[in-house]
Symmetry: C2
Subunit: 134 residues, 2 copies
């Protein structure tokens, strides 16, 4: 799954079209996006895209999300420098989730400075979530 | 990320507690869940869990989701046989997404019979989503 037959190439001239309507947008006009690291296969984060965000991502080849907290387009890394270069884009069976395979700049996806946002691991003995040592 | 230091073990006696409140439940009382295959690292599917679904998953060690279409608990594989045995559970930085690392029975996660729900790949030449040959 991490080695797409046809590597993704951005297309600055890509326009909205049936491909964009093929996505199942939720009532907020968003689609869930899972970012997975190319090569390692690590799941880095989950975020959301609007139609404009997905179009922009396709055009520039870097992940652009919709920030629900700031209610605007969020070009990932625009402030931190931790951009995500798209290697592959996949859509799931019912169209409501996108899998974005990316090269993660500096290997840091999380705003906390962690590699992945999923750094809290279940600790069965303590029945709680603990920061992973990985 | 695929080799947790402490392998997950189900706990039939686990009760609701602060660990369950640590999850950021959305307005529908749900949390997004990404299922990733243990070993391969393939992202299999995205689904949702309610509090009851997460508790049940922890108790039995198999993925139990909340079916939004059927509005009830959905023990994945209860009809198809394609159960998911939990190997690791992780929570993300803001608590609103869970990463479930699983052994996928029969290697089939999707209701279409595909290995992963993410079998539609972006075809840049045709500007459309095409079924992946992988």
């Amino acid at each position: 799954m991490n080695t797409p037959a046809t590597p993704f190439k951005p297309n600055p001239n890509l326009a909205p079209g049936p491909w964009l309507d093929a996505v199942t947008w939720n009532t907020q006009g968003l689609v869930a996006v899972i970012a997975q690291e190319f090569g390692s296969g690590d799941v880095l984060m989950m975020a959301w895209m609007s139609r404009d965000a997905l179009l922009k991502t396709m055009q520039i080849g870097e992940a652009v999300y919709w920030s629900r907290s700031r209610q605007k387009l969020w070009h990932k890394g625009e402030e931190s420098g931790h951009t995500q270069t798209v290697k592959d884009i996949r859509l799931d069976c019912d169209g409501d989730t996108i899998l974005l395979v990316v090269d993660q700049k500096d290997s840091i996806a999380c705003h906390t400075g962690e590699h992945s946002c999923f750094f809290l691991d279940w600790d069965a003995k303590a029945s709680t979530w603990q920061k992973s040592l990985e």
